[in-house]
């Protein structure tokens, strides 16, 4: 995340809460969030081009090696939440990112020149989870929360060919800060939200489970 943007978000969150100090007539239950941020890169497990060697017991014969990496990328996401109890919200999320997949192939036993291939992937994550408000550690107007959930992963190659589908699991948390609490009939509150999660991606282009961190900041509106 660019430092100026991060600073802007933190500065906004340190403002005195509630531009409009009027208390809503009822607790808002429905929340919509739009956010953007960064998705960390991840090294994928190396996958060798192994043939069966002529040996007993069988051993691999490595014809060539490959290494793959999903690079860091921007991430945008939308969240829709429904407050079930004053502390617990059920939340759904659609996240979209366009990381590059970097694949290197080399160490070829027959001398094929090594190569590094860089390709774009469109990555969609649809997940659902539980957000628990941590009233006990509330600091000034900052309301921290913890979150966990699971969902569906879809990775499309350039040209929109589906490469892989899989599952995601996530844990994390964040803080939100109400900045505006109008006494309107529709919008009950609005503010800023900073969210950090660790995603475990299973069944994507990587042969193993990939761990990816995300940090996003955005605006929420409660109805």
């Amino acid at each position: 995340m660019n430092s100026w943007w991060c600073g802007l978000v933190l500065a906004a969150m340190s403002l005195p809460g509630g531009v409009s100090a009027q208390t809503p007539s009822r607790e808002p239950r429905f929340e919509v969030t739009g956010a953007a941020g960064l998705q960390a890169g991840a090294d994928l497990a190396a996958q060798n081009g192994d043939l069966r060697a002529n040996s007993t017991p069988p051993q691999p014969f490595t014809l060539f090696t490959t290494e793959s990496r999903v690079a860091q990328s921007w991430l945008t996401e939308g969240r829709v939440g429904w407050r079930v109890t004053p502390r617990i919200t059920v939340e759904g999320r659609l996240g979209y990112s366009r990381p590059t997949l970097e694949v290197s192939a080399g160490a070829d036993t027959e001398g094929a020149p090594p190569i590094t291939i860089v390709e774009r992937i469109d990555q969609y994550v649809v997940d659902a989870g539980v957000v628990i408000r941590l009233d006990e550690v509330r600091i000034a107007g900052l309301m921290p929360y913890a979150a966990a959930g699971a969902g569906y992963l879809r990775q499309l190659h350039e040209g929109l060919t589906v490469i892989e589908q899989g599952h995601v699991y996530h844990v994390g948390g964040g803080v939100n800060r109400e900045l505006w609490t109008p006494n309107g009939r529709l919008v009950r509150a609005a503010g800023l939200r900073v969210d950090a999660r660790v995603y475990f991606l299973a069944g994507g282009v990587a042969p193993d489970v990939v761990t990816q961190g995300t940090v996003t900041a955005g605006i929420f509106v409660r109805f």
Binding site: L51, S68, V103, I117, G159, E164
Partner: protein
């Protein structure tokens, strides 16, 4: 009455046309059309000869061959089955209307462990009869764990039954020349590789992804086409099409190999039966076995360096990846 033609196919020597698909399929020219060799019936009956060899009785031979048939029959994406019809006094390679499998003493074929022959319907290209012989000039074993100095009958039977089904040889392997002549296999990833791992080795009892893709493409079950994808393209050297290049598709997630060849003057290839997902494409000259053990295409190009394709190829389920052109350089 339909005409029938006997085609003798030796494990280490193949002379027929080939279908430009993944792996390699036998094909015949029927009324000017290249038609894959395949059984029309989804259930194939076979007989075993009633004579064994030293260390392997007729019953032990039949058991090893039955296990090899089971291996192919158990491919989940293929719809083909086999039934043992009994022992017979008939011999392999006779055109007698039944498919016979057994030993034959062929000391002159000093590098041939086994061979498969076909009788085909020359109007439809269907296989009417297929026989397999195992060369009794070699030492054989049916021991569970193999036996040093003896060739594993089940492994060789698995290879020959691949031929019986219509598969030709795969080039997924690496070899080195022996000082005494012939080649030694360093590694392979297909039961249908033309050269055996050697005496005592039982690795070829287990089908590899290339074999599974091949038999499934010939005898697909209802879901095979929907669950797998394909790659098509061509190979170019100095702007000219390359004939006879070996094209390998490597699935990045699973590490599986499935391969094919460029089999026409346009240098085109097709690799079908691929697991969906991201693949690396590697092209190499066909220099790890005698070219005529794969196909008879005339002058094929082997004077180029192996190369990787410059893109990751995403294979969709039930479809084909965008066409790829792979450029290779001279040696």
């Amino acid at each position: 009455m339909k005409g029938q033609v006997l085609i003798a196919v030796v494990a280490l020597l193949l002379a027929s046309a080939a279908v430009p698909a993944a792996y390699l399929q036998f094909a015949v020219d029927v009324n000017g059309h290249t038609t894959p060799l395949r059984w029309k019936s989804p259930s194939v009956r076979w007989f075993a000869t009633n004579s064994g060899v030293q260390n392997v009785s007729a019953g032990a031979m039949q058991g090893a061959v039955a296990r090899a048939f089971d291996t192919w029959q158990n491919v989940p994406t293929a719809a083909i089955s086999f039934s043992f019809a009994g022992f017979t006094g008939a011999t392999p390679f006779d055109e007698d209307g039944i498919s016979v499998i057994g030993f034959e003493d062929e000391p002159d074929l000093e590098r041939v462990l086994g061979a498969t022959s076909f009788v085909i319907d020359d109007v439809t290209g269907e296989i009417v009869e297929a026989d397999i012989f195992f060369n009794a000039a070699f030492q054989w074993s049916t021991a569970d764990a193999g036996q040093p100095g003896r060739f594993d009958l089940q492994s060789v039977a698995t290879h020959e039954i691949g031929h019986l089904l219509g598969l030709a040889h795969s080039a997924l392997g690496e070899t080195e020349l022996r000082p005494s002549g012939g080649r030694r296999v360093l590694a392979s990833s297909a039961v249908m590789f033309p050269i055996s791992f050697g005496a005592g080795n039982i690795a070829d009892r287990i089908l590899q992804p290339d074999d599974v893709a091949g038999v499934s493409d010939l005898y697909p079950d209802d879901d095979f086409a929907r669950r797998t994808g394909s790659i098509t393209g061509r190979v170019l050297l100095n702007g000219r099409p390359v004939l006879g290049a070996h094209v390998m598709a490597f699935h990045l997630e699973s590490g599986e190999f499935v391969s094919g060849f460029t089999l026409n003057d346009a240098g085109e290839f097709q690799i079908a039966g691929l697991r969906p997902g991201a693949h690396i494409i590697r092209v190499e000259p066909l220099d790890d076995a005698d070219v005529d053990s794969f196909f008879d295409l005339g002058s094929i190009e082997i004077n180029f360096r192996p190369a990787f394709y410059s893109r990751v190829v995403a294979v969709p389920a039930g479809g084909s990846a965008p066409r790829v052109d792979v450029t290779v350089g001279p040696k």
